[in-house]
């Protein structure tokens, strides 16, 4: 059970402490800065924040004294020669003469650190970062230096080794709409799940490509999209082109994976060898951004469904959380303590978390809710926070 919650918000980092049964926010940290992700390293207690500063560029910030002081880090950057295949967003007035557009390349520059993940207990100081455009970075020294995972960057699903020359295979990593706000249309890595039994095994979620796995600490990577379907491509079972919104793993049952995807909720019982769609239209479990796996029981997960994908807000003005306890066969919905009229909240992909019996989420409308009974009833922690990008129990 955790008595602390970290919020990454549009206007800074908020730390909530549980005191006498209530959650109280401390004065805002990184005030005025957009924070894309905030989390605590469970191994050494360091607090990590991904700052998304519009003027001065994305930076990391860390605190080794529980949030009293922060150190901003500038070392996470793409190496010279890191290129990617440029994506083209067609404009409405564009005419095509039928000829294929020549492949063009762009030098990678960091647009956003989207997610942070911590290595296993056998890897002190190892931290992973997922970025726009489409990078997985790893630090092995507690964040002082960072290296791009070049094998994943050079994967055949994205054109091969572009450091060496032109693409040798077709790029199948599409841009994510989440990048458009940065003036680019590039893929992004938003999910990193490290297997607690074996730190060399990691699953990474990419928008828009799918899930990709390494079992050897990043030396080789393989797509893990069998069983995935989509509803926006001519071939709904294409190997690539999927849009996982968030992918997570049950730490006590690491072969059980959960995925809230643009095209529904999916789960895997065999370590992502095969996915199964578990959307249930009768309880409106289908579209949404975040998903949280129970930390003990692999069959239990929570989602916050949204009306999608055309509206992207609460369904019929009422906010609710859905929970399954049987691996997605059935879902229960819970509304107690949540607004049931004129609610337009949407919950971003990193803004729902569960730890033991506690579940917490925050919305784009600046509302934060905590449940202490596994999602069955909710209490509002505050209504006037900035838009919430991430929620993580410390």
């Amino acid at each position: 059970m955790s008595d602390q919650i970290l919020l990454g918000t549009r206007k800074g980092t908020l730390i909530l402490d549980r005191k006498q049964g209530r959650w109280a926010p401390r004065p805002i940290q990184h005030s005025g800065m957009s924070i894309s992700y905030a989390a605590r390293d469970p191994r050494d207690g360091t607090l990590w924040v991904a700052m998304d500063h519009a003027h001065w560029g994305p930076k990391l910030s860390r605190s080794k004294d529980g949030g009293a002081t922060w150190e901003n880090l500038t070392q996470l950057a793409y190496p010279k020669g890191a290129r990617f295949v440029e994506q083209h967003l067609p404009t409405p007035d564009e005419q095509s003469d039928g000829t294929e557009r020549p492949t063009s390349y762009k030098d990678a520059a960091l647009l956003k650190v989207w997610v942070l993940a911590f290595g296993g207990s056998d890897q002190p100081g190892t931290i992973h970062a997922g970025t726009l455009p489409g990078g997985l970075f790893t630090s092995k020294d507690g964040g002082d230096t960072w290296e791009l995972d070049v094998t994943l960057w050079n994967h055949e699903s994205r054109g091969g080794d572009l450091f060496a020359g032109p693409a040798t295979s077709r790029n199948q990593w599409g841009g994510t709409p989440a990048a458009v706000a940065y003036g680019e249309f590039v893929p992004g890595i938003h999910s990193i799940a490290v297997d607690p039994r074996n730190s060399a095994r990691m699953l990474v979620g990419v928008s828009c490509a799918g899930v990709i796995e390494t079992r050897d600490g990043g030396r080789t990577w393989e797509g893990r999209n069998r069983g995935m379907t989509n509803d926006y491509l001519p071939n709904p079972e294409a190997e690539w082109g999927h849009d996982p919104h968030f992918v997570t793993m049950c730490p006590a049952d690491p072969d059980r994976l959960w995925q809230q995807n643009h095209s529904g909720v999916f789960t895997s019982e065999d370590g992502a060898q095969r996915w199964k769609k578990v959307s249930r239209s009768d309880v409106a479990v289908h579209f949404g951004f975040p998903i949280a796996a129970d930390d003990r029981d692999g069959r239990t997960a929570w989602v916050v469904p949204a009306k999608g994908d055309s509206e992207r807000m609460s369904i019929d003005g009422g906010l609710f959380v859905a929970r399954t306890q049987d691996g997605g066969e059935t879902w229960q919905t819970f509304r107690e303590g949540l607004p049931q009229g004129h609610s337009y909240d949407v919950v971003y992909r990193h803004a729902l978390d569960a730890r033991a019996d506690r579940v917490c989420f925050g919305s784009t409308t600046g509302n934060v809710y905590v449940s202490e009974d596994r999602g069955e009833s909710w209490r509002c922690v505050g209504n006037n926070f900035p838009p919430i990008h991430s929620v993580r129990f410390a």
Partner: protein, 90 residues
């Protein structure tokens, strides 16, 4: 030697940053020298490919620099350089 002024917003990250003379035959050289004096400062002004950040402006006198890709604009010793954040945000 060119004289450089900054938006006070940069002093939030580099509290000892102060206006003054900084050597450099081009804007890029000047930014490199600033980064030696204040490690990490260049990463606030340019990205890792050397491009000026989208929402940062550098003026030489009253004119914005022309080469946002490489900051190759030449400087003369009497130039005054301003490093500012662009009008953007929300």
């Amino acid at each position: 030697m060119p004289f450089v002024r900054f938006t006070p917003h940069l002093q939030r990250f580099f509290p000892t940053l102060a206006e003054g003379e900084v050597p450099g035959a081009t804007v890029r050289e000047l930014v490199e020298e600033l980064d030696r004096r204040h490690p990490g400062l260049a990463s606030y002004v340019v990205d890792e490919t050397g491009r000026l950040r989208r929402h940062v402006n550098v003026f030489v006198g009253d004119e914005p620099i022309r080469d946002r890709q490489r900051l190759g604009d030449a400087l003369s010793p009497e130039d005054r350089v301003f490093i500012l954040q662009a009008l953007s945000g929300g």
